[in-house]
Amino acid sequence: MDIDQFLNQHENKSLLRLLTCGSVDDGKSTLIGRLLYDSKLIFDDQLSALHADSERIGNAGDGEIDYALLLDGLKAEREQGITIDVAYRYFATPKRKFIIADTPGHEQYTRNMATGASTADLALILIDARLGVITQTKRHTFLVSLLGLKHIVVVVNKMDLKDYAEDVFESIKADFEAFSSELDMPNVTFIPISALKGDNVVAPSKNMAWHAGEPLLPILEEVDVAGGINTDDFRFPVQLVSRPDLNFRGFAGTIASGTIRPGDLIKALPSLKESTIKRIVTADGDLDEAFAPQSIMLELNDEIDISNGEMIVHAENLPHISTHLEASVVWMTEAPLKAGQTYIIRQTSRTTKAKVSDLNYQVDVNTLQKHPTEELQLNEIGRIILTTHLPLFFDPYIRNRETGSFILIDPITNTTAGAGMIERHLSDDKPASKSTDRREFLWEQGLVTPGNRAQRNRHKGKWVLFIGDESQTHKLAKDLEYKLFNKRLQSYYLGLSNLSEGLEADIGDNFWDREEHIRRIGELGRILTDAGLIFISSLERVDDYDLTRLKALNSPNELLVISIGECAVDEKHIDLQLEGGGTAEERIKTIESELDRHTGLPEYNI
């Protein structure tokens, strides 16, 4: 190959942006150093400087190259021996160019990982073979899932220190799959490697002939990167309006998603005025078609007033246009986020003010438990409701990373305070609220009142929810239904798994769909208790926020929470805690007296 071919090949490579996440000492920097080294793009003088550095502060031991020193840029970090900020690295193979976002493993640097993940197509999650899946692995995986990365490669490193044993690798793989099933991950690839020794990094490892899959580099070279861009919905945030002379007016921007052609019917947002595309202008000539992420200028056939920060879309495919939205947010600054505060929001090319109208909860990224909270601290992740001053034009983040993402800027310090991913829009005429006041206000009743029903049934409608030890809750719930039924009370047990192919057939059984799952069960409880039933069910994996929501959704009717055994929720949400031991008979008695105490069973009172 001569130099012309070499340069043309380089120009026409595809580009993969990847994120590396790992903990301190799991060999992440060594792995990246190895990729750079083995792909022979580390220049000689950097190498000779490296040899000098390794002797002074290196950790690799006598004579060995410390690959990690290639990476740690800033002086302070080098002396502490840890990477503390996002660093970007570049290397290329004949097939592809790579940009690595190298992020630190420290707990307090969640924000850096979110930053690195925001531009990445693929995540490398490193696991130390000696330690297996640890808390930080779970945290990294959660963030990768939150930021919507489509490709994940789990790299089990330091296999050399575990004698390259297959069962070590298989057991870590099983652990990872067990906890990640909750996160709705796309296809995950697992590779056993030794970054230090070079096993399975570029070439297949002789020491791990039992591993059938490809080494890391070929996998990175072959991953399909086109899948990350939304090709369906044309979204063109206008960055500036160009009027070089009286005869030309062009709207400049970068296509966020979708494709556009001359002649296409478009709408301008927020005016909703229509026109058609006259020309797609670039410095290299007009285009017959343009697609994301091209930077272009659009000329229209009609004089429509469109400004910087507005959007051009296909007329028959509009994004949400709203001042209300619900979003997940990663908090990135010392001053906590609180409900009621106002920030500056930057979303696509648009800047306006946004008020946090509600802070729904904070997620514990280690346990995936949601907790109601007043404040979101640095490096915490939560769910918020935003009300913006000007309407935003957006799609859910899961559908469109470009139009579904935003940053919140602190108006006093000007720092980037938070990173947001839009979950859903909330319509303008039904302002977002956690309270059910509006539903109750509009509730239409028949001729029979709840009082009539209570008199006939001899009890009020009520929801009894069992949580905790799954081996006991189902059985006890069914026993209670039976016992009450035999007392001629209106009891009804519902196995909530019955919903998965019916009422919940359209949502998944994972963390991200949890919110909607809870909403539907809560609404169902409200209806069944309104019908006068003692509604009995048992629910798995509940947290504080779920119980708060269920109570609110079921109001004005009562929810009685009965916990059996260990349960990770605040005791203030629990009405009755049953410990192990005692016969089923005794336990039902205890529950009945609790029902009695809550005046749920009027027959005992009258």
Binding site: I3, D72, A114, A226, T259
Partner: protein, 300 residues
């Protein structure tokens, strides 16, 4: 039709987006023009960003007074031909006092005639945004640089307190006196820059190409005798086929022996010698992490 851009087209699109984004968010931007090859690429990207209009902000060149003569000639001709609005600023007090790298040493001279001159020019014009042609692959401390890099009122960069940068949602908010350096070429590598120059036919200073030039050897570095200000302590300049991998002040910029007189030959040489470009700059040799120190002080 496969809707996928080549990596170089992706970089071009990203850079154009960054330039337009900064222009739309800041009130008074300027583009720092070093006359080097990266500046050449950055200017071309700015022209593309605003086509068919003109680049709507000025270029600023900090003339340290010891630049190669060919650089200054190239600068004036290029800006005139391309219709670019050029501002040139020098530290006039330093010039009057005869500041030079031989008496002051490279560090002190660079601080006075480059860093201080740049900061004075930015203050004088009240620019709130300065585009720079730096790339993250150039040097270790730059790997962590943001695309929108915040500078306080004293133009200081605080590596511990950088604004998080997510997706392409750039934060351009500053208070009066503060500013942001914007680096549209952040994700380009040296090879990308050369290929783009070749593809786009971007004019560059002839010093990049090999030619017989008068040089003296200083500590293993070939220094070109560009004018009579270079003190020769009994040395006799010799004519050698040399070229420059980076351009700056001629007494501080080493030449390499080379026969490469086309872009293709330069790339070929680059790939075979594998000598990274900054190794010819004296400034990086002033102790470990010296570039990071200079960045904190406001130079880049």
């Amino acid at each position: 039709m496969k809707h996928q851009l080549s990596q170089l087209k992706q970089l071009e699109a990203e850079s154009i987006r960054i330039i337009r984004d900064a222009y739309s968010q800041f009130e008074n931007p300027v583009m720092l023009y070093s006359i080097g090859k990266d500046s050449g690429v950055m200017v071309r990207l700015a022209q593309k960003a605003f086509f068919p209009g003109k680049v709507p902000f000025p270029l600023l060149h900090i003339d340290s007074t010891f630049k190669f003569k060919e650089m200054i000639q190239f600068r004036d001709r290029f800006c005139k031909e391309e219709g670019l609005d050029l501002l040139v600023h020098s530290n006039e007090e330093g010039r009057a006092a005869g500041a030079n790298p031989f008496d002051l040493g490279s560090r002190k001279y660079t601080d006075l005639m480059k860093t201080q001159a740049l900061l004075a020019a930015l203050d004088h014009h009240k620019f709130d945004c300065a585009f720079g042609g730096a790339r993250r692959d150039e040097e270790k401390s730059r790997a962590k640089e943001r695309i929108f890099s915040f500078r306080d009122q004293h133009h200081q960069w605080d590596p511990k307190n950088q604004r998080p940068e997510l997706w392409a949602n750039y934060n351009a908010r500053v208070n009066p006196g503060e500013s942001v350096r914007v680096f549209p070429l952040s994700n380009w590598t040296e090879l990308d820059v050369w290929q783009y120059i070749r593809l786009e036919n971007i004019p560059i200073v002839p010093l990049y190409f090999a030619k017989k030039r008068p040089v003296v050897n200083r500590d293993g570095m070939w220094v070109m005798v560009d004018d009579d200000r270079l003190p020769l302590d009994g040395e006799v300049p010799e004519e050698r086929m040399v070229r420059f991998r980076t351009l700056g002040c001629y007494p501080l910029t080493g030449a390499i022996e080379s026969e490469a007189d086309t872009v293709e030959k330069i790339v070929e040489e680059m790939m075979t010698t594998r000598l990274s470009e900054r190794s010819t700059r004296a400034i990086d040799r002033d102790g470990d992490a010296s570039m990071e120190q200079k960045k904190r002080e406001g130079y880049f």
